[in-house]
Amino acid sequence: MRKLSLMLLLVALLTGVAALNAQEVVTLEFWGGWTGPDGAIMQQLVDRYNAEHPGVQVNLTVQAWSPLFDAFIAAASAGESPDIMAMHPQETAMFINLGLIEPVDDIVATSEVFQKDAYVSKAWELQFYNGQMWALPFDLGIHGLYYNLDLFEAAGIEAPPANAEEFLAAARLLTVDAAGKHPGDEGFDPANIVQYAINMHTNHHGFYQWYALYNQLGGQLLNEDGTACAMDIDKAVQAWQWLQDLVYVHYAAPQGQTDYARDFITGRTAMLVDGPWQIPAMIAAEAEGLRWATAPYPTIFDKAAVWGSGHNFTLPTFADPAKRDEALAFIEWLAANSFGWLASGQLPIRNDLIASEEFKELPGRQAFVDMLPNQVLLPNIPKFSEIFASNAPTPMMVMGQRIILEKADIRTEVQNACDTITAILSVP
């Protein structure tokens, strides 16, 4: 009797499963690391797509990038992958080397959306590695300069600083101690500064800024074939010296800062170097009385250069090949509807979108978009995370934190980092 009922139950279950299959809903697994407010915006886009396409169900999985990549690798070791994996252009070589993602040249050859001429050329070029295209571009994000209009007016500064001279002059006026004195004034008290000119990253964005400044000096990080550190030590020191002096010589930036956006919004700092993803927070802070604007990342040295990154979509090797067309259709839809994504602050890379009236009406973006041609990305190499990972004691993190937090000797730290990088790259 019991066996019979068990069998009946099984039959019922199986027919149920078959009935579900009959509707032929294609399920796409889509992974991305948007843990901030941008995650909600991506979810809205996914929801819209699901509503408009009854035959497809896209499941968005969001986790911080680092654990997300861990999961991506772990799943691949079991022969499984999401159907669409988002990442950053400078990380693709790592996954190409592991054999986890597939080239997209054939897709691009026939796609009506992904056409070279439709994109900002920099955004397109970044998707190539060893002559093949490996990812479909989605957006870019670069550093820019946010500034507080009220604090600038109070200091009598008319325009945001664009070079070293203007920057130091503005920084002096914007740094104020409890008695209202500026650095260089008689009796200025560095221990009682109530307003700083600018933030100073103590996380990975510290070495991102250094990388931009080093590029402004024409410096190169690795040799041509990416097998050794090729740093020009003098230039590397010069770039770090600028950042370290802002904290310890000019008192223009707080020491040991942790929450850069909050400090800017509350007026503790008058300027903020950060990415366009802070724009939504700035708009929200207008309710608290913040008046803000953006300017291009200043050119402190010889030529313009600014740190940048971006998001792209890759097609994993271990994904179900039967779903590839559906996955591609979804990515094309996202690209064509990327105006919705701009609410996250990220920068558009499609020429039609950048030229559109609706984009021009969005606050704060133009200064970023103008700098797009000058963006420099970290080198896209297979051992990217060993050298650049932000949440591990990588040579770049150690160098940056020692110089900015501990006021360590710059030349020693630069030399150490360069030696460590070469040691890492020399292991096959």
Binding site: L98, G99, G256, N391
Partner: protein, 310 residues
């Protein structure tokens, strides 16, 4: 449906409880530990044994592992980061273990007294241990914030200037230690409380009749009879200290610089972030070796100690 057993042969509850005459060893008890055993084998024992093999290979989690002999172990000698991780872990253990033992014992003794509010006190001390490690990490990152953290607000009140805690190489590890002590002291305390309640009351009475004072009672009654518990707590605390990871991962990622890089954090980083699973497993094997040696000396010391008491 049979609910009540009819005979001992069919596996009665009496047989289960070991009251019936023993015939064949019953399989039933093993069913009870089966759920745990399955997970233990799948997620602990299996991976550990696999790690033993992986340590001798070059493996990136995907593709075929390549046997490299002792190359991973030789590479350790040339790895300055591993040295940092080892030093930091030992430093962490040296400060955390005694603090956790003494503090939890003191709390247990205090909250073992018949006094008002002791139930509330026990709950309050134990409560942090129930919180997920990631939440503890985020919470203490705020508390230890240099500029706006709660702890510095209190310290300012006593005229102490802002301590940089997690944003300075010289203080970051103390921040991690403070967090760990707050988080785990309650667990040790509960173990000590259980141990204290096992000590027969008559012994205290006898000691007092013999004229022993509080210190004497503690030194010659409580402490020796608590020895098995103390040994257990010591063992667990040392092992947990050497395996510190969650707090570090959430709060500092091993930084600033390499100031809070610990062995398990380094194993995780090299394996999962750098895809060097062979090297990561080799380091894990060394950590395992260290813990085995520590445990060996502890057990030997404990046995000698017991003989001394006898």
């Amino acid at each position: 449906m049979r609910i009540l057993p009819r005979t001992a042969e069919s596996g009665s509850y009496a047989a289960l409880a070991g009251l019936a005459p023993k015939r064949r060893p019953s399989l039933t008890p093993y069913y009870f530990i089966l759920p745990y055993l399955v997970f233990f084998v799948l997620f602990r024992l299996g991976p550990s044994l696999a790690g033993l093999g992986i340590a001798f290979t070059n493996w990136q989690a995907v593709g075929t592992p390549r046997f490299v002999g002792f190359a991973n172990f030789e590479a350790m000698a040339r790895d300055p980061r591993l040295g940092d991780a080892f030093q930091n872990t030992v430093f962490f253990a040296l400060l955390t273990v005694p603090t956790l033992i003494v503090l939890s014992l003191a709390l247990a003794l205090f909250l073992n007294q018949p006094r008002r509010g002791r139930a509330v006190g026990r709950v309050v001390v134990f409560m942090p241990y129930v919180i997920m490690s990631t939440v503890v990490g985020v919470l203490w990152t705020w508390i230890l914030d240099k500029d706006f953290g709660l702890l510095n607000v209190y310290l300012n009140f006593f005229g102490i200037a802002n301590v940089p805690w997690l944003v300075s190489e010289s203080t970051a590890m103390y921040g991690i230690i403070l967090t760990t002590v707050w988080w785990t002291v309650g667990y040790n305390m509960v173990l000590f409380l259980a141990g204290l309640q096992d000590i027969p009351h008559e012994l205290y009475e006898a000691a007092r009749i013999d004229g022993a004072r509080a210190w004497g009672v503690f030194r010659f009654v409580t402490l020796p009879l608590l020895a098995p518990t103390t040994f257990l707590v010591l063992m667990l605390t040392i092992i947990n200290s050497f395996q510190v990871f969650d707090q570090v991962y959430v709060m500092t990622s091993g930084g600033p610089g390499t100031a809070t890089l610990t062995l398990v954090q380094y194993i995780y980083t090299t394996s999962f972030q750098f895809q060097k699973f062979g090297y990561g497993s080799a380091v894990a094997l060394i950590l395992f070796g260290i813990l085995v040696i520590v445990a060996f000396f502890q057990i030997r010391g404990y046995r000698r100690g017991l003989k001394g008491v006898e």
